[in-house]
């Protein structure tokens, strides 16, 4: 079975209170792509992620991972290849030690303990927090927590990483570290964020959502430079694209 693409076909979802969060979303994401999903608050980003992961099931339309339809029956198999990093690391770190948290996924898939140990160490090494293995998650700093929650997903060896606001609430240095880390991954990536500079650096394709509909889908270099489009969607140009606050020039002509 190949997990080399993820596809959404005409997704629709309304919350029980009647709020239609996702009205019509379709796209295909291929192996190795890094896609940024952006949009204003309430555009439907989080709901879309929940639909992709099978936490919610669409009222209409389908999600396909590889060639497999996401249904209750295929869920366990599909989740093995999708790794989702939550916005709040506290939701993802519920065990007493970082080690146990990272081991949680593989153990659920009945991976034998020697292999679990190998994977946990590898994942912690990869995100650079091997020395925190025995610490309690609640004692970590924000950046360390984020790294740990990424490790909890990496240990499951997913083909596809889904990250919800990976740089939210991080100080600049930690943000940079996480970005560098993510850039180094060869996984297919879906990243939602309001941090458009991060998206600009990490993603080669952007999907713009507005009121539960895809309004643009294309190359990062085209979409994130389209001030009119971004403005209409409640966003603005990445800071790197805006004029310099000192001399008013853009990136190329700055301070010249």
């Amino acid at each position: 079975m190949s997990h080399h693409k993820i596809e959404a076909r005409g997704l629709k979802y309304a919350y029980p209170d009647g709020h239609e969060a996702v009205k019509d979303i379709s796209f295909v994401i291929h192996h190795g792509e890094a896609v940024g999903v952006i949009g204003a608050n309430g555009a439907g980003k989080s709901t879309l992620l929940m639909l992709l992961m099978g936490v919610l099931f669409p009222d209409g339309g389908d999600v396909l991972v590889g060639d497999v339809l996401v249904t209750k029956k295929t869920l366990s198999m599909i989740r093995k290849s999708l790794g989702m990093v939550f916005q709040d690391p506290n939701d993802q770190l519920f065990m007493t030690t970082v080690y146990d948290d990272v081991a949680f996924g593989p153990r659920n898939y009945k991976v034998d303990e020697a292999e679990v140990d190998r994977r946990v160490k590898e994942a912690l090494e990869l995100v650079g927090i091997a020395h925190l293995s025995d610490r309690a998650p609640f004692k970590l700093s924000g950046g360390e927590k984020r790294a740990a929650s990424i490790a909890t997903v990496l240990s499951m060896q997913p083909d596809l990483l889904i990250l919800d606001e990976p740089t939210a609430a991080l100080d600049p240095k930690s943000r940079r570290r996480i970005m560098k880390l993510l850039k180094g991954f060869s996984h297919t990536k879906i990243i939602t964020s309001h941090d458009l500079d991060m998206v600009y650096e990490l993603c080669d394709r952007i999907i713009v959502l507005k009121n539960g509909v895809v309004v643009a889908d294309g190359k990062t270099s085209e979409i994130l430079t389209d001030a009119a489009l971004l403005d209409a969607c409640g966003l603005e140009l990445p800071l790197a694209m805006q004029g310099c606050p000192v001399c008013g020039g853009n990136q190329e002509t700055r301070h010249k």
């Binding site: 936490v55 366990s76 519920f94 007493t96 081991a103 949680f104 009945k110 609640f138």
Partner: protein
């Protein structure tokens, strides 16, 4: 509030110790504690002197598991109000009331300390592993485990809300009665949401209702010796009133 949180998590920290008591198989410690509890509970309600030698067990564990005396004692005192309220009327209504009162206090001291020490040397996760080996239904074990996790989530949430309240209500002590309702309701909703997200994140990592504790070590001969040794000791203490025996012995020697 945050202090209370650290208090709860102290037991987790202690459980990560490296003494031989920590390494003893969780199932063995669980059973030993069980035998201990049954021995204590089965005593008559007027019994005091026979109970005293049982103090040896908690003291031994605190000493040899490198546990701090103070914090453990503090935790034991947490149940003191309940024990006192149960026992306090005994001296009034019962002819031997003071006897039963002290018996209750002593029993609670012993049983509560045994429970705390079990967690402090084993940790909740390994303990649940032990329960699973005993074929306790997974729903109960999971309930226990998640409740234990949930407490700290709840306290964190309360701490944040309390801070937010206090910052906008200078000069107030505690939380005003009129705000109790919304406060509790808000708290429940927040906790539900949090629990929901945690559950989702567990599900996404393949959680299927079964908790896998990872390395469950094998029961070694030393573990069995531990169980048999302590059980024999407890049963002996249960069968013979040791302080009496020693007293008689001493009296015999003196005469």
């Amino acid at each position: 509030m945050v202090k209370a949180l650290n208090n709860i998590r102290l037991l987790d920290d202690l459980a990560r110790g490296e003494t031989y008591l920590h390494r003893t198989h969780p199932l063995v410690k669980l059973l030993t504690t069980f035998v201990f509890l049954v021995s204590i509970i089965s005593f008559d309600r007027y019994e005091i002197s026979s109970l005293l030698p049982f103090l040896f067990y908690p003291l031994y564990i605190i000493l040899f598991a490198d546990l701090p005396f103070g914090p453990i004692l503090k935790r034991m005192l947490m149940v003191a109000p309940f024990v006192l309220s149960i026992g306090i009327l005994n001296p009034i209504f019962d002819r031997n009331g003071w006897l039963t009162f002290f018996s209750i206090v002593l029993k609670s001291l012993l049983t509560v300390s045994a429970g705390i020490l079990l967690i402090a040397t084993t940790g909740m996760e390994r303990l649940s592993g032990g329960l699973r080996i005993l074929k306790v239904p997974k729903i109960f074990v999971l309930q226990l485990l998640l409740t234990y996790r949930y407490i700290s989530v709840l306290i964190e949430e309360v701490g944040r809300m309390q801070r937010a309240y206090a910052l906008r209500a200078p000069g107030q002590k505690g939380i005003q009665k009129s705000a109790w309702g919304p406060f509790a309701g808000q708290l429940i909703l927040r906790t539900f949401e949090r629990a929901q997200r945690i559950y989702e994140s567990m599900n996404l990592r393949g959680f299927d209702g079964e908790y896998h504790a990872g390395k469950t070590s094998k029961i070694m001969p030393g573990d069995i010796a531990y169980l048999v040794g302590w059980s024999a000791f407890f049963l002996f203490l249960r069968a013979y009133n040791v302080p009496n025996l020693i007293g008689n012995l001493l009296m015999g020697v003196i005469q």
